[in-house]
């Protein structure tokens, strides 16, 4: 599961964990890339599991030639001990039949590592919004009961909107309400498993559609920053995030000149 990068064991006790859910637009993953790149976090371990599709490549956060050739895998953990922050980046989809297993694995790792709180960055299909959700902010949050004990009503006081539930049987009045996060991937699984295991966990998500999701990642991250203050921002301005080297050519190679 978690394999430390160096021989010295890492302790995450009391740290905050930020992780993405593989969701529409890959917004959570893009936001996590920005965090690791801006805060210059160093890799402390890998999540080695059969639940994710394998992938390898050179260092996506390379800043100079010397660190460009560190091999990177599909799920890595980065840490910033000064900020007591750990970040998990997941770079490939969860194998379809292993979604439940992955959630259980994550929840047991979070519990065993002793993170004081976990933040899951996610997204949901914008086209599934109801009339009310079409107005106002596209950002939502969810917190487990254990998290409620830690933060209290802090998020509500910051004018954050809680994710609305939907009716189990649409059109039928008085039917049960249930949590529905279309396009959220494993978000709901992680959230419900964390509730069951008493894990302090918050989901922060944005409604979006597939396309160029970089602006959505910035919106989500700036919103998160108003709570966690990962990066200092002077009043009335947005914080500056560093775009990693791996974000080049997101939409394909250079165009052959002969095409025109």
């Amino acid at each position: 599961m978690f394999v430390a990068a160096e021989c010295t064991p890492t302790s995450f006790k009391g740290f905050t964990l930020i992780m993405p859910a593989i969701s529409v637009g890959n917004v959570g993953q893009l936001a996590v890339d920005l965090i690791v790149s801006t805060l210059n976090m160093c890799r402390v371990g890998y999540i080695h599991t059969d639940c994710l599709i394998p992938m390898a490549g050179n260092n996506p956060y390379a800043t100079f030639a010397e660190n460009a050739n560190d091999l990177s895998t599909n799920a890595e953990v980065y840490s910033s001990p000064e900020l007591r922050l750990a970040v998990l980046q997941i770079r490939t989809p969860i194998i379809q039949t292993k979604s439940k297993k992955f959630c259980k694995l994550m929840v047991s790792w979070i519990k065993a590592s002793g993170f004081s709180r976990t933040v899951v960055l996610s997204s949901s299909h914008a086209y599934q919004r109801d009339d009310q959700q079409l107005l106002g902010s596209p950002l939502r949050y969810l917190q487990t009961p254990s998290m409620q004990k830690v933060t209290g009503d802090r998020l509500k006081e910051m004018d954050w909107k809680e994710m609305e539930t939907v009716s189990t049987f649409p059109g039928v009045t008085d039917s049960e309400q249930r949590l529905y996060i279309p396009g959220g991937g494993a978000t709901k699984g992680l959230f419900t498993d964390s509730c069951a295991e008493d894990i302090p966990l918050v989901v922060v998500l944005i409604f979006c559609s597939e396309g160029d999701n970089i602006p959505d990642a910035f919106t989500l991250l700036n919103h998160l920053n108003t709570w966690l203050h990962l990066v200092d921002a002077p009043a009335q301005t947005q914080p500056k995030w560093r775009i990693p080297a791996s974000w080049r050519l997101l939409f394909g190679s250079g165009i052959p000149p002969a095409l025109f």
Binding site: I53, P54, L71, T97, G183, G184, G185, R248
Partner: protein, 285 residues
């Protein structure tokens, strides 16, 4: 999302599938899932001699100093021509697996026939610590991790070094400048952090990534701190091709330290390993 004519289309997402929500399995579904999982299991079938060595070793692991894996028809063809052609290699095993692209509806109980897509192991007669694996069959995404764990589970980790040769279509190579014909085929390399030597060609630049078996092997080596180097050849030819195979030649420098090689091959020999695709779809015959 609704279109102008009023019909509703489901929106395709590159990240998530439509039915990712609620997967409440019934008992019957669980049984079916388990049966499918068993059918898709990866098994390694060793020859009796090697199976005996594994048993005798106590830890159920083989001594292996170098593992060379070729993934894809061109990489496998290169190894066949330059390395395995010297007739000092014994076939010692194969990987038995089944997936949707395999022929037949279930796992084959017999060894693969020559020419069939397969995953074969060879061991050098004079230096039995050197193993070669040629993988030309399709290994599904959910089988890659298992393949890697099972193969490396048979090998002693101490003193092990891995080299992977693989081919990939140049269409998957991302570069800001358009690649003209003469630049292709070309080699790029990737190394695990434990690998200290110099690679013999430029490193694979971001944002390019590896997927499939080469990625699974390299990830395993990275996580378990095994020195590993990969040479990936980007080519514009789909079928096995002698020019693409020759592009792997820089890897011979490392291999020649381990085993005796055929240094110079005539074009005829190479052509033997490159299948010439015939024009199959001819409407008029």
């Amino acid at each position: 999302m609704a279109t102008f004519f009023g019909e509703v289309l489901s929106v395709y997402s590159r990240a998530v599938e439509e039915d990712d929500d609620d997967l409440d399995d019934e008992n019957e579904d669980e049984r079916i899932h388990r049966e499918i999982e068993e059918k898709r299991e990866v098994h390694i079938v060793w020859c009796p001699e090697v199976a005996q060595s594994l048993e005798d070793s106590g830890s159920n692991k083989l001594q292996c100093s170098d593992l060379i894996i070729a993934v894809g028809t061109n990489a496998a063809g290169f190894l066949s021509a330059y390395v395995l052609n010297t007739e000092s290699w014994d076939a010692v095993g194969h990987v038995s697996l089944w997936n949707e692209r395999s022929r037949g509806s279930s796992r084959q109980s017999i060894a693969p026939l020559p020419g069939e897509p397969a995953c074969l192991f060879y061991r050098h007669r004079d230096n039995p610590a050197v193993l070669v694996c040629q993988s030309t069959c399709y290994i599904a995404e959910d089988q890659l991790f298992q393949w890697t764990e099972k193969v490396f589970g048979c090998l002693q980790k101490r003193g092990l070094s891995v080299m992977v040769l693989s081919d990939s279509p140049v269409a998957e190579y991302k570069t800001p400048d358009y690649l003209y014909g003469s630049a292709v085929p070309f080699l790029r390399s990737l190394k695990s952090s434990a690998s200290k030597g110099q690679a013999l060609c430029p490193a694979l630049e971001q944002p390019n990534i590896l997927t499939g078996l080469p990625a699974a092997v390299l990830s395993h080596c990275q996580v378990h701190q095994i020195p590993a180097v990969l040479y990936q050849c980007y080519t514009d030819v789909i079928s096995p091709d002698s020019i693409t195979m020759e592009t792997f030649k820089p890897a011979l420098l490392c291999l020649s330290k381990l085993v005796k090689l055929e240094p110079c091959l005539s074009a005829d020999v190479l052509r033997k390993f490159a299948i010439i695709t015939e024009a199959q779809s001819n409407l008029y015959t």
